[in-house]
């Protein structure tokens, strides 16, 4: 049985795109599901036009079935979405996979798919993913949530085997900031035109991850 499984894996890997989109997703899911825990030192870089913040360091602790916990002695902004590196929210409820065809990646062609939850309990309405079918991992994701708007992830991996990224860009839509004027210093000139123009902004958080340990199931 075990040998059969290995053979099946080998055939899947060798055949690449001959698998259906759903099979590809399930294969990636099984790789992600194998991660039980990990701890990673993260460096957070905030890239939002109206926020200037020095890069921050923190510790990310992941346990399967739980949200990632971020620990830091500094003040850090942690994006509400995008830190679920196991993509568990996508696969929590039954879903459908729609094949969107191939797209060009940086060095290889990628499979574009959409995941549509078939259960109303799911937190997202649609998720578009780019899957590297040869390395069996997600390189890009755009997830439209029901409550927190849409966010995009771009994942960069250290080698061809890794399932967890070492670089992660999380982009999201956010409202402009509304500061009560009495908080601003007396001299602060409020550029109202600029503020109005910045009504909706795209923010980005860049994370560099350095894993202390990763525990996987065999």
């Amino acid at each position: 049985m075990k040998l059969h499984g290995i053979l099946l894996l080998f055939l899947y890997a060798a055949n690449g795109f001959s698998q259906t989109a759903e099979e590809q997703v399930l294969f990636v899911k099984s790789r992600l599901d194998s991660i039980e825990t990990f701890q990673a030192d993260i460096k957070l870089h905030v890239d939002i036009s109206f926020i200037k913040m020095p890069d921050k360091e923190a510790l990310a602790v992941f346990k399967k079935g739980e949200d990632v916990v971020i620990k830091s002695e500094d003040f850090v902004l942690i994006p509400k979405r995008g830190l679920d590196l196991s993509f568990s929210e996508l696969f929590e409820y039954p879903f459908m996979v729609v094949d969107r065809g191939e797209v060009e990646g940086q060095s290889t062609s990628l499979l574009a798919i959409s995941i549509l939850p078939s259960d109303n309990k799911a937190d997202f309405s649609v998720a578009n993913l780019h899957i590297d079918t040869q390395k069996q991992r997600i390189t890009w994701a755009e997830i439209n949530t029901k409550k927190d708007g849409a966010y995009t992830l771009r994942l960069t991996y250290p080698d061809s085997q890794a399932i967890l990224p070492t670089k992660l860009d999380v982009s999201f839509e956010m409202d402009r900031i509304r500061i009560p004027l009495n908080f601003a210093g007396s001299d602060v000139s409020i550029d109202r035109k600029k503020i109005r123009a910045a009504d909706q902004k795209t923010g980005k958080i860049r994370l560099a991850l350095k894993y202390r340990n990763i525990e996987k199931t065999q």
Binding site: I51, M53, P54, D74, K80, D148, I179
Partner: protein, 275 residues
């Protein structure tokens, strides 16, 4: 030197000097208390929009933010206190006729006033030092350390070490602005002689200066060199990139304004009759 010593002695013999110091502590205590009870609410309002997108780890209501709040008292309260005390250094002498007694002795008028200007400036520096020391000790002691967040056309965060040195520089350069107001009040005392008139004129000068700070003069050069535009120089330390050139130019200009105001005062005092 002897004149300086005498003026310092007279200043610290006046009860109003101690009232001013007490008032300074009182302002500081109010800022600390309001921060203690309402600070979290203020931070929540400031970060309300970000709460949709982010979780926050760590606390922003810390000593650095409180010192920044206290620094904002530079705008009005501390200069007002300085002006009241400093102008009193001369107006009381006019009222109590002690000036006439002084000038019965071989004292050069301009040197006498110059001593007052110097002591007034030193007293202002002393007040700022006292304010800085107590605010650093109390704020860090009560609220601890942490990142400083300020709003200058966007939110800027500074890590503790960075925030600390920016706050220290802000106190240092803010002192120049306070010295200017003290020197102006002494010059007004030369002109008006009476305490109440001088206080009203000094307060008016301060209010108008504060109002004019926000007014655009429509000309880059005037916006750069007008004295009331220089009073916010300390705020430049809370821009992400410190504009040292602007700060140095502003400080040199402020130094010149102080010098010119002093010279005008010395000239008028020398010309005027005492009586």
């Amino acid at each position: 030197m002897r004149l300086l010593y005498i003026e310092t002695y007279k200043l610290f013999r006046q009860s109003r000097t101690y009232y001013a110091i007490l008032a300074l502590f009182f302002i500081e205590a109010i800022v600390l208390l309001s921060a203690y009870y309402q600070g979290t609410g203020i931070i929540d309002i400031v970060l309300a929009n970000l709460k949709d997108t982010f979780y926050f780890q760590g606390k922003l209501l810390n000593g650095n933010l409180i010192i920044y709040f206290i620094l904002n008292s530079f705008w009005f309260h501390v200069p007002l206190l300085c002006m009241i005390i400093v102008s009193g250094m001369l107006t009381t002498e006019y009222q109590e006729k002690t000036l006439q007694t002084v000038f019965m002795q071989p004292v050069v008028k301009w040197k006498y006033l110059l001593a007052k200007y110097i002591v007034a400036s030193l007293f202002t520096i002393f007040l700022v030092l006292l304010l800085a020391l107590t605010s650093f000790i109390l704020s860090y002691g009560i609220f601890g350390k942490g990142d400083l967040v300020v709003y200058t056309n966007g939110l800027t965060f500074f890590e503790h070490d960075d925030a600390f040195y920016r706050l220290v520089y802000a106190f240092l350069f803010g002192t120049l602005s306070l010295v200017f107001f003290s020197v102006v009040s002494l010059t007004l005392a030369v002109l008006l002689k009476e305490s109440f008139k001088t206080w009203i004129a000094a307060a008016l000068f301060l209010i108008v200066s504060t109002l004019l700070l926000k007014i655009d003069l429509g000309n880059e050069v005037w916006n750069q060199i007008a004295f009331f535009k220089l009073n916010n120089t300390w705020q430049y330390f809370f821009n992400h990139d410190i504009e040292w050139n602007t700060i140095i130019i502003n400080s040199v200009l402020m130094g010149l304004y102080i010098l010119v105001t002093m010279l005008v005062g010395l000239f008028l005092f020398q010309k005027k009759d005492i009586g």
